[in-house]
Amino acid sequence: MIGAAVWRGPEAAVLTVGAVLVALLAFGIFVAFTGLDPFAVYKVLYLGAFGSRFSIETTLTLAAPIMLTALCVVIPARAGLLIIGGEGALVLGGLGSVLAGVALNGAPASLATPLILLAGAAAGAIWIAIPAALRQFRGVNETISTLLFNYIAIALLNHLVSGPIRDYGQPLKPTSWPIPSAFMIGTIPGLSVHWGLVYGVAACLVAFVVLRQTTFGFALSILGGNLRAAQMAGLPVAALALTAAALGGAAAGLAGAVEVVAVHGAASISLVVGYGYAGILVAFVARQNPLAVVLAALLVGGISASGGLLQRRFGMPDAASTVLEGCIFLAVLGSNSLYGRLRFLQSRSAEVK
């Protein structure tokens, strides 16, 4: 499944764009059945996502954590692991950053903030390394276990914020202790978008270079491509798989930490808004390519950003944007079966025996 979804040059780009167009067509039909004009809906969708400075800023803000949670799928996928635990790793990252923030109270912000982000990344890394270790040493299916780990993470969050680390000054909604406001990070100059966007894009660029250009990335490709070949080459299979999973978890953990230090200031159920699942969607739309993740995250962020506007303008249910995301996901997965089938996409060299 993962093997079929990796990036393969121009053919992948054409297929992905084609799949997104097919999904838009399908969603248009769905919209028409609800009695609305699909073109008007798409126009509003565009305006809500990219039509104004405000909507672009919203899109960018929503896209930032999704880039990071998508890496939680992309990096382990290179080692052959299908991890869908980004949601849980994000929650753990948020919790880790809150605990670090509270513990560092009084420290200078220039020191504390990086440490808080690091704590969040570390929490996420450990969280995803556990199912990877279960897979490596006990044969537990990592996809199922990371899915279940999401529920455990959310239960842990609910438990902690409604008792052990609850801020009783917030009576309406169980919320954790706040981190000192001095540790909060602000917005990128000239934009009302927080620094998380920079982290997200930077992480994607770094992931791209690491996966493509380093010996570590090369070794991961061998492992993900064929475990037996990796064993025969004497590669440290367990260490590679665990490292890849931990790096992915670190990215999602960082997303949680950024949500805390840039948006909420504390951990609460507000962390659980589906960024982890959106990351899965983005990773597959991007066909596990970290650079394409940036673009796909903007697309999904834009769809989410315009969800409210669609609701207000057309009275569409708020699940409508989820339906569109689902259409895209299915179309992209379905398009994998067309690899090598479309004659005009085949490079001539690939056909020579």
């Binding site: 570590f216 090369f218 061998i222 070949a229 056909e351």
Partner: protein
């Protein structure tokens, strides 16, 4: 024999296969083979892997369309185009692996094999039919037991019962005992022989085990290289005759310019290694062997006797239960560091499954051994792809790999070129220890002789070579010393000069004088 038993409606027909021929491209897999199966006879078809046994079965059963040849049932010619027609004529096939549904009971499995006209199943009625059917059988299976809870021998009995229940009176068994213990095998085959003796069944047993042929079959047909090389009454042939027919007598001892080296120190030692197969059964049982520098040790054996598992142990693809592997006198942990330090290389069979990544390019696949090595790396961690590609171009030329560019995906290459890619990767470095497993399967004559000369050259340079091969001729040509592997043990060893095909063949076929009595007392 002319009068079938009253309980069964179907008669056992006379089956004649005449001049069956099947060609796959340039390969003549089956060359004019004829077999006559009298009603109620027990007929063994004996041959090595690749002798054409399975091809013959598949032609009879309608899985393949033969290029020439006829199938006659009671003297009437039948064209069988698909397996369903074969079943309709009462021909049943039992495979070496089970085709039962594991989570269903024995009774459910019997019913499920039938082609039901009605959409509902009258269980009471079916149950009564099965019970009355089973009363007439010489062996019984607990009908309410789930298949998962049955032992391998019970499952095989159930497979046979299923064929009988479906009304098949000619049963072809394709190496049915490979998953059974010897006593289970004896039990199952003994029951089949009883059924044939009673005239209720004809049996064709596909096998490479002499013991089974001798103990159960009346007639035997020997295939080699797709040809019928011998046939007759089992009672009139001895084991040496059968081995001679099966493995061939006229072997050429052609040596590819080997220099007379004195074997040096022990380079690769397997010390009492025990390992399990995928079904967690013992594959290698405290197996030991030693390969010295400048020596080719050939391992002969019929596939499935632990060779694959041993190769996987040496390749780092399988765990070791007990024992130790040593290379150059030290414990070998199968890590990349040691592979490089001691120059351990492997040529495994099925390279796309075992040693390559389909989705990576030819250049990348050529660099699995050295992508993280010296000149290929800059700034400590970045792969210099341009250097890898240049290196790949050299190898592609030297080993004549037919690929449009070094960047083509490996799985766009033909099988032979994939094999050459692995060969180039594994033999181009410093080779001190080489483990080769059927390195020439599927290659044409010139590629084969090239690989052979590469192996000899490596040996002449002082490399220790462990060569697993199912092709005895290849072993006799290349090896300095030959051992025979059977059921996870080394059962025989001989220097090449004293090697005798018939003796090796006997040991390959499971002949083991000291164990034969043990089996007899168990049965």
């Amino acid at each position: 024999m002319s009068e079938p038993s009253q309980v069964e409606a179907a008669r056992v027909p006379l089956v004649e296969v005449v001049g069956m021929t099947k060609r796959f491209g340039a390969l003549l897999a089956l060359n004019g083979v004829s077999v006559r199966l009298e009603p109620g006879s027990f007929h063994a078809i004996l041959g090595e892997n690749g002798a054409g046994k399975s091809t013959l079965v598949k032609c009879i059963m309608g899985y393949y369309r033969p290029d020439a040849g006829r199938l006659l049932l009671d003297g009437v010619q039948h064209d069988i185009y698909n397996p369903r027609q074969a079943l309709a004529h009462g021909l049943g096939l039992v495979y070496q692996h089970f085709t039962l549904v594991p989570n269903m009971t024995a009774a459910e499995n019997l019913v499920l094999g039938q082609t039901h006209a009605s959409p509902t199943i009258d269980w009471a009625n079916e149950r009564a039919r099965i019970e009355s059917f089973q009363r007439n059988m010489p062996f019984h299976v607990d009908l309410d037991a789930r298949v998962t809870s049955l032992a391998a021998g019970e499952k095989q009995k159930l497979e046979i019962l299923k064929q009988l229940y479906l009304g098949h009176r000619v049963m072809i068994l394709d190496e049915p005992t490979s998953v059974l213990t010897p006593s289970e095998a004896d039990q199952v085959l003994g029951m089949l022989r009883d059924l044939t003796k009673a005239g209720r069944l004809s049996v064709v047993l596909i096998t490479h085990k002499f013991r089974e042929v001798r103990a159960f079959a009346e007639d035997v047909t020997v295939l080699r290289g797709g040809r019928l090389v011998g046939a007759g009454k089992v009672a009139e042939l001895n084991d040496a005759d059968l081995a001679g027919l099966m493995f061939g007598r006229e072997t050429v001892f052609a040596s590819a310019d080997r220099t007379a080296t004195k074997p040096g120190k022990a380079a690769l030692e397997v010390r009492s290694v025990t390992t399990l197969n995928d079904k967690a059964m013992t594959a290698c049982d405290a197996l030991s062997l030693t390969v010295r520098e400048g020596e080719i040790l050939g391992v002969a054996g019929v596939a499935g006797n632990g060779q694959r598992e041993l190769v996987e142990v040496l390749a780092g693809q399988r765990g070791i239960e007990a024992g130790e592997v040593r290379v150059a006198g030290v414990h070998y942990d199968r890590s990349r560091k040691q592979m490089r330090r001691y120059g351990v290389h492997l040529l495994t069979e099925e390279p796309l499954q075992n040693s390559c990544v389909r989705g990576m390019s030819v250049a990348e696949n050529l660099s699995f051994r050295n992508f993280d090595d010296g000149a290929n790396v800059q700034l400590g961690c970045f792969v210099r792809r341009s250097v890898l590609r240049r290196h790949a171009r050299t190898l592609i030329q030297r080993y004549d790999i037919r690929t449009p560019t070094p960047d083509a995906r490996l799985d766009t290459l033909s099988g032979g070129n994939v094999q050459r890619t692995v060969l180039a990767r594994e033999l181009s470095g410093t080779v001190s220890v080489l483990i080769a497993q059927n390195p020439c399967v599927g290659l044409d004559f010139s590629a084969t002789s090239e690989i052979h000369s590469q192996i000899i050259t490596a040996r002449n340079r002082g490399a220790a070579i462990l060569l697993f091969s199912e092709d005895l001729d290849e072993l006799l040509e290349l090896a300095d010393r030959i051992v025979v592997m059977s059921e996870g043990h080394i059962v025989y060893e001989t220097p090449r000069a004293a090697a005798d095909v018939e003796t090796i063949g006997l040991y390959m076929a499971g002949h083991r004088s000291e164990r034969e009595d043990l089996w007899a007392s168990n049965a």
